[in-house]
């Protein structure tokens, strides 16, 4: 098991290294010369000054030296400097990561739990209303843009029936106590987490239904039934544990998409996380910040994949054996 995990870890490091090389390559392939842009802002410069600028940025060195410098800096936690905020990108990301993690975790958790329950119920009763609900839900969830669902929910729950705040993470009047602060954040979290989760609810309910239907037809479930075990025990002990495996795998594999969804949902609700930061850096053409967010998100996906791999090994003894 240990060597398996080590190999995964090495693979993860390699993937992140590749992301960095891609980042570097993209900046270099992209049209537009940073020094010329700078000179343009300064209102022109002599050729000597341009050469000096090139040298000070290390742009006169061969590409492999430049990429070495870049990798070395990233290893020290330096993702560059934001051209708009005039702050280190690492600092900006550290400031915004908390809200994003909160939003993504809450959204995924409720979607997975409710989605699995819906899927399990609808697998047992194929033509019940729950089964039809899962079908309609998954079609709607796959077809509507997540940011549009968010706006529609705002129109419904913040404008037509004003029970939830439109945007932000906290109210303008400062909360006086810790509990007050937590409640305030939770109140603001409901709409974005509901929106982001809806898409995955659609996905997980359909996935767990398919997986449950498959598991219910296997020999070990038939054996359990033939032994005369109570139906509930068969479903929740024998079938569900196996049916939940693909749900765990996909939670890891899909994490990149979850981050993409978070970018859109955060933008709609002005939730102060990485997604809003990404949106702002597009508006301000702040390339270092956007590339930093891309790298950091890839890091999160890799960590999430390792984590689900670990959980998978814990709940499926067959993998542990190999």
């Amino acid at each position: 098991m240990l060597t398996g995990l080590l190999r995964k870890l090495a693979n993860a490091v390699l993937l992140l290294f590749a992301v960095l090389v891609l980042n570097f390559a993209l900046i270099h392939i992209a049209p537009g010369d940073p020094v010329e842009a700078l000179v343009g802002e300064m209102g022109g410069a002599t050729p000597e000054l341009i050469a000096e600028l090139r040298e000070s940025f290390g742009l006169d060195k061969p590409l492999y030296v430049q990429i070495g410098h870049y990798l070395g800096r990233v290893l020290q936690g330096d993702l560059g400097y934001s051209t708009y905020y005039d702050q280190p990108v690492t600092y900006l990301i550290a400031e915004r990561i908390g809200p994003t993690l909160l939003l993504v975790t809450v959204a995924l958790l409720w979607a997975i739990v409710i989605g699995t329950i819906l899927g399990v119920f609808s697998a047992q009763r194929r033509n019940s209303w729950i089964s039809h609900l899962v079908t309609v839900l998954s079609l709607a969830g796959f077809s509507a843009p997540v940011f549009w669902i968010g706006i529609m929910l705002i129109l419904l729950l913040s404008v037509a029936f004003p029970i939830l705040p439109i945007s932000g993470m906290t109210s303008t009047e400062a909360a006086t106590s810790t509990i007050g602060y937590i409640l305030d954040v939770a109140h603001h979290l409901v709409l974005p987490a509901l929106t982001l989760g809806l898409i995955y609810l659609a996905f997980y309910s359909r996935l767990s239904r398919t997986s449950m239907l498959e598991v219910l037809e296997t020999d070990y479930v038939r054996t359990a039934r033939a032994k005369g075990l109570p139906k509930r025990l068969v479903i929740y002990k024998h079938a569900l544990r196996n049916a939940v495996l693909p749900v765990v795998t996909f939670a890891g594999l899909q994490f990149g998409q979850v981050i993409s969804g978070a970018v859109l949902v955060e933008t709609v609700f002005a939730w102060p996380g990485l997604g809003t930061l990404a949106f702002e850096s597009i508006l301000r053409r702040d390339t270092p910040t956007l590339l930093g967010i891309l790298f950091f998100s890839a890091l999160m996906v890799v960590v999430m994949n390792l984590l689900t791999d670990f959980i998978y090994r814990r709940i499926d003894p067959r993998i542990k054996a190999t």
């Binding site: 992209a30 796959f142 077809s143 843009p145 940011f147 706006i151 404008v159 053409r285 891309l294």
Partner: protein
């Protein structure tokens, strides 16, 4: 037994011609036609495509001109769906935006399938080291958060229609590649492939002429569905402000009108319904195709 005695078995039906064998694509169409939701999807999709092609020349109001009071609600002027925050006609925006949205959706999907099928076919056919390297590349693209990566590409290389389609294609092909690879791994061991190889068919012929046509059915379904995801993807990018400045698209209309939702809910509602209907229609057609091609998997 003399030869003249033998009556060939066909003689019994000699008078009436044998029923023609039904071609596979005809069979699929017959199955598809019985699926009501798939036929509704096909009809909606057809209508949207016809409107996008002919609409702009029939309804000639420009989607960029200020034609009326800003934020006029639907039905209160000659402009049926009302106007947006700049007084632009929403209906004109929808009709012209459909053209852009659907064009990008189709071309990005073509690119997705092209990259995915090529990589998956090569990996599945050659196996071994080629497979290893190509699957690493696929894994790499799966790890990249696709929207953020597309945002970086579009921002660095200017948001033209072509760049947007390319960016979507580059980030969306991984699942197609995996599916193609799995199909190729399965089919390359079949007897008819071995037979072709033994009579001297080259690799190129085996890949494109022998295996690919047999791997096509599930890929057709994926291709149909990937048009839908490409449309959603484009909507997301243009909502974030990464759209061609010269082209109106549905996602961009939602992004443009979002700051004014308190004064005009219609400005965001109609373009959203347009996206929803289009992608829903594509999903219904895709599901119908899936059922028609794999009848065994129905009800799943």
């Amino acid at each position: 037994m003399s030869v003249t005695d033998t009556t060939p078995p066909v003689a019994a039906t000699a008078g009436k011609p044998l029923p023609k064998p039904v071609s596979p694509s005809r069979q699929v169409w017959q199955m598809f036609r019985q699926n009501h939701s798939a036929m509704i999807g096909l009809f909606i999709l057809f209508a949207i495509i016809v409107i996008s092609i002919f609409g702009p020349s029939l309804y000639t109001v420009s989607p960029r001109d200020m034609v009326w009071m800003p934020l006029t609600p639907p039905g209160q002027s000659e402009y049926l769906l009302g106007t947006d925050y700049l007084g632009r006609d929403l209906l004109a925006g929808l009709i012209n935006g459909g053209r852009v949205t659907i064009t990008i959706g189709f071309s990005a999907a073509v690119l997705t399938i092209l990259i995915g099928v090529t990589i998956g076919a090569l990996a599945g056919f050659f196996g071994g080291r080629v497979d290893n390297v190509l699957m690493r590349v696929t894994e790499f693209f799966q790890v990249l958060p696709n929207l953020l990566f597309a945002m970086v590409v579009v921002m660095l290389f200017s948001p033209s229609l072509i760049n947007i389609a390319i960016a979507i294609g580059i980030v969306s092909w991984t699942s197609t590649a995996r599916l193609t690879r799995a199909e190729f791994l399965k089919i390359r061991e079949m007897d008819y492939v071995k037979a072709e190889r033994s009579i001297g068919a080259g690799n190129a012929r085996l890949i494109w002429k022998v295996i690919l046509p047999n791997a096509a059915p599930p890929l057709i379904v994926v291709a149909a569905l990937s048009i839908g995801s490409a449309i959603l993807f484009e909507a997301g990018l243009s909502f974030l402000g990464l759209s061609d400045p010269n082209a109106m698209s549905w996602g961009r209309m939602i992004g443009d009108n979002r700051p004014y939702i308190l004064d005009s809910s219609w400005g965001v509602t109609f373009p959203g319904i347009a996206i929803f209907l289009t992608v829903l229609a594509i999903s219904l057609v895709g599901d119908g195709l899936n059922d028609a091609i794999n009848p065994k998997l129905r009800q799943r």
